[in-house]
């Protein structure tokens, strides 16, 4: 299968102003194969995707689809030619005000030949055909808003499939899915592969890549740095080519915490959940892992005063701790790098230094008047400390890559010493190099505070934490020191199997 290339990119070039983003990219996609594109943030992945999907025009080079020149001017044209893109942001792929059936057939409402009136029954019939073909098991009458993210993702892929595409581009499709949801997605991808679709799969996640890749292409600094198609695939080689340096398996030098900083007893965070205890010491980095939806964010938000525990007591530095608002938590020395930075972290109209200083305006002002010089000095120090790639501290956030935006968010909360620093999914949408920088900084600065990370990815926890706690069904069910971990037990706990026995 996949002998001849369906889609071919040759010496593709693209610049934005003086910055050359793609400097001669050659890439081939074969029918019935999944080609994984790996690249650190800023390598040019998104630009490449946008050119292929018709959002940007290329500056030089050529693209051919099934032997014919392919140069789409609009996304719609790319789609009609048979190249469809499922974007990273799941909600871009579906119209949340409509139901599943209408979404599946939505693209027929536009373009030539679309009828002015549409019959609901016909829509549903067509939608059912699409759903069956894709093995989609979702109520077609459900509204998109009532679906989980994973189901929305499925709908947006199935919707893309309604075009009978030759090429499908999946841009980080699992970035907001849990492991079990992702495995459903992989089954869908297998189905697409069997139907002979050439798939370009963009991802950072090694577990995804190991699962789906037929070939791996590494992109670095706007050029292809490596092509790996011999089985078994050389994953480490691909990562190395992508980063241009070897990131070995980081073995964490496990530290013991010193004095206790935070303790919770009989904490109950959801109705019917088993109460649990939690104690954190200064100097240690603790990761809470578990599948999506097991209450990790609920716990993070409880510790930060966004929601209240149903029962139980918390103590911070020996004193009673029961924050009602984030402001109270911050005053007590508990900081949170919240999940989903675009939604709850970044102030888009602010530049880097204004974003960093946001929680500490009182400390950085005198009689209410901002001390901008102090603000900027602080920001410069943080930019240096976390190796944030930018021109200077007055750059807009929109100019930064995802990894650097996340570094700004982490830098914000490292600006002043905390007693307890909580990070909820800090590595989401962050390239591997930035992830290593952030993890190294967290470990290096962990000295006087307790650090608590919430991570769905087990790899990330193994790379960064001294201690790993496992959550399932809104309670903590397991604890591991990150040295000679019993992986079988850990995985069993993540899967929630241990729960009955431990109670």
């Amino acid at each position: 299968m996949g002998e001849s290339a369906v889609f071919r990119i040759a010496s593709l070039r693209k610049s934005f102003g003086p910055i050359q983003v793609l400097r001669g990219v050659d890439l081939e996609l074969h029918a019935g194969e999944v080609t994984v594109l790996m690249g650190a943030n800023g390598a040019g992945k998104s630009t490449l995707v946008k050119i292929v999907s018709g959002v940007y025009r290329l500056d030089g080079g050529s693209m051919t689809l099934a032997g014919q020149s392919f140069e789409p001017v609009t996304p719609a044209e790319a789609m009609r030619s048979g190249v469809v893109t499922v974007h990273q942001n799941i909600n871009d792929g579906v119209v949340s005000a409509l139901d599943v059936a209408t979404n599946l057939t939505l693209d027929r409402l536009n373009g030539a030949g679309a009828k002015f009136f549409f019959s609901r029954r016909q829509v549903r019939r067509e939608a059912r055909a699409v759903a069956e073909r894709m093995g989609l098991d979702i109520d077609l009458r459900a509204d998109i808003v009532d679906l989980s993210l994973a189901d929305r993702q499925m709908v947006s892929i199935a919707r893309a499939m309604a075009h009978e595409p030759k090429v499908m581009i999946l841009d980080e499709p699992t970035s907001s899915l849990s492991a079990s949801e992702a495995s459903r997605l992989f089954e869908l991808i297998d189905r697409l592969r069997a139907r002979g679709v050439a798939i370009l799969y963009i991802s950072h996640r090694m577990s995804d890549i190991r699962r789906v890749a037929d070939r791996i292409v590494s992109l670095r600094d706007g050029a292809i740095a490596g092509l790996f198609e011999e089985k078994p695939l050389d994953y480490e080689g691909a990562v190395e080519a992508m980063l241009g340096r070897r990131i070995g398996r980081t073995s964490v030098a496990v530290k013991e915490g010193s004095r206790p900083v935070f303790a919770a007893e009989d904490l109950q965070i959801a109705p019917g959940a088993r109460p649990f205890g939690l104690s954190l010491a200064a100097g240690e980095v603790v990761a809470v892992t578990g599948l999506v939806g097991v209450g990790k964010t609920a716990l993070a938000e409880t510790l930060f005063g966004i929601r209240q525990p149903l029962s139980g007591r918390m103590r911070l530095g020996g004193a009673e701790y029961r924050p009602k608002t984030p402001a109270e938590a911050i005053r007590s020395g508990v900081f949170l790098v919240a999940k989903d930075r675009a939604d709850s972290g970044i102030v888009p109209e602010f530049n880097i230094y204004e974003n960093m200083s946001l929680p500490f305006l009182k400390r950085l002002s005198h009689l209410g008047i901002m001390r901008r010089r102090a603000e900027r000095r602080l920001a410069r120090r943080q930019i240096e400390g976390l190796k944030i790639v930018c021109r200077n501290e007055r750059d807009d956030m929109s100019m930064l890559s995802g990894g650097n935006q996340q570094k700004v968010m982490v830098a914000r909360w490292l600006s002043y010493p905390a007693d307890l620093l909580i990070l909820d999914e800090p590595f989401q949408g962050v390239d591997i190099a930035a992830r290593h920088d952030i993890a190294a900084k967290l470990r290096a600065s962990a000295g006087e505070r307790a650090t608590l990370l919430f991570l769905t990815e087990l790899d990330e926890a193994l790379e960064t934490a001294d201690r790993i706690l496992v959550m399932s069904e809104h309670t903590i069910i397991g604890e591991h020191r990150n040295a000679d971990i019993d992986m079988d037990r850990l995985l069993a706990e993540v899967a929630g199997r241990d729960l009955a026995g431990a109670a």
Partner: protein, 353 residues
Amino acid sequence: MDATAGKDKEKSVLDGGARKTGMNMRDLAIRYGFLTLLVGLIVFFSFFTRGFASPQAAVFILQSVSITGILALGVTATLVVGGFDLSIGSIATSAMMAAAYVMVVMEQNALVAVIACLAIGAIVGLINGLIICYMRVPDLLATLGMMFLLIGLQRIPTEGRSIAAGMTLPDGSTAPGQFSASFLALGRHRFDFFLPNLVPASVVVLIVLAILIWFFLEYTRFGRMMYAVGSNARAAEFAGAPVKAYKIWAYVISGIFASIGGILLAARLGRGDIASGNNLLLDAVAAALIGFAVLGAAKPNAFGTAIGALFVGVLLQGLTMMNVPYYTQDFVKGAVLMIALMFTFALSARNAR
């Protein structure tokens, strides 16, 4: 940026055929385009009309925009937190009617009248804020409702009549009081500034309030946080800001500024005129929105608002002196607003890639 080359051409046309010389040219156009246009207008009118380039004319322009400008500065505060206040015009006229009522019917002095007006502005603003924050009524709808309510309310005490000294009250008696001289001075006194009797009190009030709100929004932590609330309320909350309090304060500021505008209006007219102040809301909102285009801010800002108000004032005064009929004024204002909005959203938004 070849992807946007086509759009660059559009901009060149807007610039009056400026040659496309890359990012810098566009950045300059975005940053200084509107100010250049303002200076150009002033130069143009100075050459083509008699007496435009005089201190008297300058002061006249400032006076003509002082009340709108004050209202616009207030509404800027609500725009900053991501809200909108449609009730400012009716707050101003309610304050005007209240001032007249307090002095003419209740026979109180200027100080009481001023305090009553400010209290009305603050209370209405507070109610707006509470309804928007705690009852989750969308800002436009809540303040639209408040606008109707106030337009109706201000007519009830006098059964729909305007208030002037010596008017007949609903019970048939004659109103005993009158506008106090010190109150009228707010509208009519002129300060010496190089020339004797040059600068009216209302202009001084405008300038003081403009500087105050500009400093507050740009240089204090409260202003910074208000911008954060308007840009991403959730992020602001997670950074420890009492988001609702900031929003409510913005409406209180807006209400107080509108009531100050109302006080000046009453002092200028010397009566509580039921029919005046119709244009206040639209003019003020226009000034604040034109302000988005100033210095390429693409967001509400006090300096831009002041320039926006001034721009409209200069244009109208100049056109009037060139004998352009008064009934074209609203058309001109609308056209300026539309151009400014296109300028802001088509050019600056593209800049923030």
